[in-house]
């Protein structure tokens, strides 16, 4: 199947780097690295045990030179087949890179190697009174490297954001073996943000600077037992839209609860069909108490049978044990479990639940339902036995139908588990050819040889439904999805871009002129005025999202929100929405940015991200465009997460100097070449011609 003995050809130099005993090609190691926690299987040709982070770059260089595919692997707990070597090659086992280099409580940063287990980091931080927010249920075993690779979430990401929001800087070995360090604060496009959730397809992380936070002085945990899961979901929607931002808001159904409690009874009343776990934290105990009372009342309105505060640390631990143990505990019901990871806009949780249940029962399957309810993230855990081929078929079909139902509700196919190989086909349903082509360009820029964890995330030819049309030329990519709700102004912009692209006219993308004054614009570039593009497309108060057009001034956006009783958790910023995103003057914007609608240099309309708070389907192109200075694509509209309630006093915010001190590095240039080969958009950013 594979070219024979590809490894033998480089064995000697490999052994010189990592040591003789660490290049393993014996049958035992090949078999043991042919599986992970997902369903897919494939045999690697070698397992290379890395014992020092400095070995990664030379090993990758060597593999790249020999044309051998490779992928990094840590605990192997991912749920989408991300660590399966689909094209053979080498597995780089990074599990021994377990150093915590530094914990800096003053700068609130921990510097760690990828093999550090999430829980080990938490334990190391605890004596200092700090914690690292992402807390996937697997945190006892899963590692920081894996968490970054998959952009892991966890209960606490409701308040503190997913992994991408909690990484400050990354040291990365590119697929060609170059060592780079990227931070989202760097001027220019956010390559660090792009790395998070890229599942080893864009490079290998060898060191991470993580944001750490002081443990809040007050943490209160409550459980609410409901006789109906639907009512529990409705309560979730109301709690969040009432303006309470819990630290975590989790839900589980009876099947999961029974599995993880393992028959222990008595904590919840008879007839409990669903349990919510609600956790609040903060500085102000009075506020926490008030919010708990509000939540209690809402739960009561929805038929909650028992709303109970965790009185002791043991009780709190028991609740979390029940929640975090629910997935592994399903092994009690059957030997295999398929975990889906769809996300829908939170208010649609009851609909998503209904659809999921119908699908599961129509395929006669059993599933434990778990929810990061506050995030709108559903985990139906379908139990089965892979030895029963017929059942496996039903499970797969049901899984895909569930994903389709999430897409139909305006959601996405993966919130935190990644796409890997198992949800690759679903990318076809979520995205149009334009978006997929955009992702392909990103992959090509980073990994032209296609060796880094090949055939992951992006659909391959075999995944394409036969009926689907592939774009033959540009014209075919101009199918505007109905959901885009394009305004006439936006349509004009897209049309204009198409014309200019056909004519080879260069464009200077200008907004309100706050940052991009006439002095900066390169001669010969024709301005494209976005100022007219200033509509407020939607303020979704229930979902707490707002979508606005790029030319709208931030100040107007704020006051419009305020009128409706919402706010943006950002300092007062000057300029247009699009300009602020593209210039990255305030890197915190990325944390609230859920989706972007952009037009490429050729005038193709792309929908990136969406209106869910979690989304790991495909590369994080939204973050890539933060700081892209209008040179990769033209931002048409943006979707933000907003908060309920009046804005507080505007912080004193000073625009940082040097936001535009961007010197493109080789990777940004390659991206430019892929995304705008003719250098038509803001051409001065990358010099007259993007370098080859």
């Amino acid at each position: 199947m594979f070219k024979k003995d590809r490894i033998a050809g480089i064995r000697q130099p490999l052994e010189e780097i990592v040591g003789r005993e660490n290049v393993r090609t014996g049958e035992a190691d090949i078999l043991m690295y042919s599986y992970d926690a997902g369903m897919a299987r494939a045999r690697p040709e070698a397992v290379i045990d890395i014992s020092s982070a400095s070995q990664v770059a030379p090993v990758v260089k060597l593999l790249h030179g020999a044309g051998i595919p490779f992928l990094p692997r840590l605990a192997g707990t991912n749920l989408s087949g991300g660590t399966i070597p689909l094209k053979g090659g080498a597995i780089l086992n990074l599990a021994r890179l377990k150093k915590i280099h530094r914990i800096d409580t003053a700068a609130k940063v921990a510097v760690v190697e990828p093999g550090v287990v999430n829980m080990e980091l938490q334990k190391a931080l605890e004596p200092f009174g700090f914690f690292y927010a992402p807390d996937p249920a697997s945190q006892k075993v899963s590692t920081i490297g894996g968490n970054i690779g998959e952009n892991a979430g966890g209960p606490l990401c409701l308040k503190y954001g997913v992994t991408a929001d909690n990484v400050e800087k990354l040291e990365v070995v590119t697929p060609e073996g170059e060592l780079c360090t990227w931070s989202y604060r760097d001027p220019g496009p956010d390559l660090m943000g792009l790395m998070v959730g890229s599942e080893g397809t864009l490079g290998i992380i060898t060191r991470a600077w993580l944001k750490i936070l002081p443990i809040p002085p007050h943490i209160k945990t409550a459980s609410a037992a409901f006789p109906s899961l639907d009512e529990a979901m409705r309560a979730v929607v109301r709690i969040i839209s009432s303006g309470i931002l819990p630290r975590a808001l989790e839900a589980m159904d009876k099947v999961s609860l029974d599995a993880s409690l393992g028959g222990r009874k008595g904590h919840f009343p008879e007839g409990t069909e669903a349990v919510l776990i609600l956790e609040l934290d903060g500085e102000d105990p009075v506020r926490i108490r008030t919010e708990l009372e509000t939540a209690h009342k809402i739960c009561h309105d929805h038929g909650c049978a028992a709303f109970k505060m965790a009185e002791s640390e043991e009780e709190r631990a028991m609740l979390w044990q029940a929640r975090k143990g629910a997935y592994p505990a399903l092994a009690r019901l059957a030997p295999d479990v398929l975990v889906e990871d769809g996300v829908v806009p939170r208010p649609l949780l009851p609909e998503a639940l209904k659809a999921t249940r119908e699908i599961i029962s129509s395929y006669k399957l059993t599933a434990g339902l778990l929810f990061h309810a506050g995030d709108g993230n559903l985990h139906p855990n379908i139990v089965f036995d892979r030895r029963d081929n017929e059942e496996v078929k039903r499970v797969k079909k049901a899984g895909y139908e569930i994903l389709k139902s999430c897409i139909a509700l305006g959601g996405t196919i993966s919130g935190e588990h990644g796409v890997g190989v198992e949800k690759r086909v679903a990318m076809n349903w979520l995205y149009g050819p334009g978006e997929l082509a955009f992702f392909q360009s990103i992959k090509r820029a980073f990994d032209p040889a296609g060796l880094a964890n090949p055939d992951k995330i992006l659909p391959v030819a075999a995944d394409r439904p036969p009926a689907a049309r592939q774009p033959k030329g540009l014209a075919d990519t101009f199918v505007f999805p109905a959901k885009s709700g394009l305004s006439p102004e936006a349509r004009d912009i897209v049309d204009e871009l198409r014309l200019r692209s056909a004519a080879g006219t260069r464009t200077a993308v200008t907004g309100l002129g706050t940052r991009l004054g006439p002095g900066r614009i390169m001669e010969g570039a024709k301005p494209l005025q976005l100022a007219r593009l200033s509509g407020i497309v939607e303020i979704d108060g229930e979902n707490l999202t707002a979508r606005v057009e790029a030319g709208l001034s931030m100040a107007k956006f704020r006051s419009a929100l305020e009128k409706e009783g919402f706010r943006l958790e950002l300092p007062e910023l000057k300029g247009s929405v699009g300009g602020l995103i593209a210039s990255n003057v305030c890197p915190d914007i990325r944390g609230l940015l859920l989706g972007l609608q952009v037009a490429t240099a050729e005038g193709a309309l792309l929908e990136l991200g969406g209106k869910t708070v979690k989304n790991v389907a495909g590369y994080d192109a939204v973050r890539l465009l933060c700081g892209s200075l209008g040179a990769y694509a033209v931002i048409l509209s943006a979707t933000f997460a907003v908060s309920a309630g009046k804005a507080g006093k505007g912080e004193n915010w000073k625009e940082p100097a040097g936001w535009d001190a961007f010197e493109p590095g080789p990777m940004q240039r390659r991206l430019k070449k892929e995304l705008d080969a003719g250098n038509l958009l803001n051409p001065w950013v990358y010099g007259d011609r993007p370098s080859r």
């Binding site: 393993r24 014996g26 049958e27 035992a28 190691d29 078999l31 043991m32 690295y33 599986y35 992970d36 926690a37 397992v47 045990d49 605990a75 192997g76 707990t77 086992n93 599990a95 021994r96 377990k98 093999g115 287990v117 829980m119 697997s138 006892k140 075993v141 899963s142 899961l229 009876k254 099947v255 599995a259 993880s260 393992g262 143990g325 997935y327 592994p328 505990a329 399903l330 092994a331 009690r332 019901l333 059957a334 030997p335 295999d336 479990v337 249940r357 029962s361 129509s362 395929y363 006669k364 399957l365 059993t366 139990v383 089965f384 036995d385 030895r387 029963d388 017929e390 059942e391 039903r394």
Partner: protein
């Protein structure tokens, strides 16, 4: 479409679950390519798991590869290699059973490096019995104990001459005391499993000239004559009986002092060593003899507890039923026996453990959970309650107290490097609480931790639980 789909589904006839979903109906398989049918008597008939009685294949297949056991596996944590992790070992046996792994010899490293500590099963929600699964794998790979013995003997001669000398001395003692012919017939392999005996030999300055059972048989208090009813019968495991005689004597003193009337059961080896080295038929023979002996006493005295002071043996005896799943005559008898077994760690309630000795506990006392106590029997709370009472404020909890010490049968010398690394972590934790006394419940740990402390941290000592109790009462 819907109709088609319905049609494809097996008519399982399962009632709808409470949430309107059909419960999982289960799937059973008799596939087994691990060993030929005629070798079945040398294997377990079935495994008694947390989720019921299962074939080897079903037991291994219960692992859904979630990986939550990995960080509890000492060998994975030391090496970062899936190949020598709990999940890996399970998958390997499964692949062997399914015939997907072609050559059993490939599994040698994976299976031989397992400490059998059972930490993975404790971490596993489905309680997948990895140690039993590993042993089943080993049995067929190691030729049912024959090859292992040969290999171990040669290895020992080469690498641990002091251990070999110790064997010889034991052999001498075995002859001198006329141990049951069975043990003699089986050669010495059953002794090599005693943990880190090479190191133990340095503790036991002079091998005991009399075994504990000999000494105790002269104790009039333990004589069955004149007794109508007994509360306990002391089961002398090989470690306390042959090597750490002071432990056996202390156990009996403690039992006599606090737990009413008792006798010596007059046991044979529990069979664990034969079991772990692949000789199931010998293990079964040991078990049958012990069961028969128990039944005799029970006939005479009515119900009582069989108390053993080595957690490895106690745990194994509690699992006797698993040896006889295909034996309708012995299975119920084994089950009844297993139900009567108590580890001395759980046998003595705090109110009967004596009074806190004032000033008796110089220095910090801590407790190491022997794997076969915490993972094998779920004993964690009881010994702590007793120690807290006796040692008061001198008691400190040991970090990672249930992390294996690396003794684990013959592991210390079949895998000396791994064993040393596992022990090192234990010693660091002991040092971190500045303990001066580490209380343990299994002879394996007593030897391994004792030897480690003497070498690296001589101001602390390892003592057996009953020795600690006995000392506290004497002060």
């Amino acid at each position: 479409m819907r109709k088609d789909r319905e049609h494809q589904i097996k008519e399982a006839g399962a009632p709808a679950g409470e949430n309107g979903l059909a419960p999982h109906t289960g799937f059973h398989s008799d596939v087994n390519e691990l060993y030929p049918h005629e070798k079945a008597p040398s294997h377990l008939g079935s495994l008694l798991t947390l989720l019921g009685e299962k074939t080897l294949y079903d037991a291994a297949a219960q692992c859904n590869r979630c990986g939550y056991c990995e960080t509890s596996c000492p060998t994975y944590m030391m090496t970062g290699r899936e190949t020598i992790s709990a999940r890996g070992r399970n998958q390997f046996v499964r692949m062997l059973v399914e015939g997907r792994a072609k050559d059993p010899a490939d599994a040698k490293e994976s299976l031989s490096t397992c400490l059998l500590c059972g930490a993975c099963s404790s971490a596993c929600y489905a309680g997948v019995p990895t140690p039993d699964i590993v042993l089943e794998g080993r049995r067929s790979l190691d030729g049912y104990g024959d090859n292992f013995f040969a290999r171990a003997a040669v290895n020992t001669l080469l690498n641990a001459p002091r251990l070999f000398a110790f064997w010889l001395r034991l052999a001498y003692l075995v002859k001198r005391t006329g141990l049951p012919t069975l043990a003699a017939k089986m050669g010495l392999y059953d002794f090599i499993g005693m943990p880190a005996l090479a190191e133990a030999e340095t503790t036991v300055k002079e091998a005991p000239l009399r075994f504990a059972s000999e000494i105790l048989s002269g104790d009039p208090d333990l004589s069955p004559a004149d007794k109508k009813k007994i509360d306990w019968a002391y089961f002398a495991p090989c470690g306390p009986n042959f090597v750490f005689t002071d432990v056996a004597l202390a156990t009996v003193r403690v039992l006599k002092r606090h737990s009413g009337e008792g006798v010596l059961i007059g046991n044979q080896c529990c069979g664990l060593l034969a079991h772990n080295y692949g000789r199931l038929s010998d293990a079964r023979e040991f078990a049958r003899r012990n069961i028969a002996r128990y039944e005799e006493l029970r006939e005479k005295f009515g119900p009582f507890r069989v108390v053993a002071d080595c957690s490895s043996c106690a745990a194994f005896m509690k699992s006797y039923e698993q040896l006889f799943t295909n034996d309708p005559e012995w299975r119920p008898r084994a089950k009844a026996f297993a139900g009567a077994v108590s580890d001395v760690l759980e046998f003595i309630p705090p109110d009967k453990a004596g009074e806190p000795a004032s000033g008796a506990c110089a220095g910090t006392v801590t407790y190491h959970d022997s794997c076969r106590a915490c993972h094998g029997q779920g004993i964690r709370r009881q010994p702590r309650e007793v120690l807290r009472k006796l040692a008061g404020k001198s008691y400190r909890e040991l970090p990672e107290s249930d992390w294996c010490c690396g003794g684990a049968g013959a592991f210390a010398f079949t895998q000396p490097e791994l064993s040393a690394r596992v022990l090192d972590r234990k010693l660091r934790n002991i040092a971190s609480v500045q303990a001066s006394t580490v209380v343990v419940g299994a002879t394996s740990c007593l030897a391994q931790i004792g030897a480690g402390l003497r070498k690296c941290y001589p101001s602390a000592r390892a003592v057996h639980y009953t020795v600690f109790l006995d000392e506290a009462s004497n002060k």
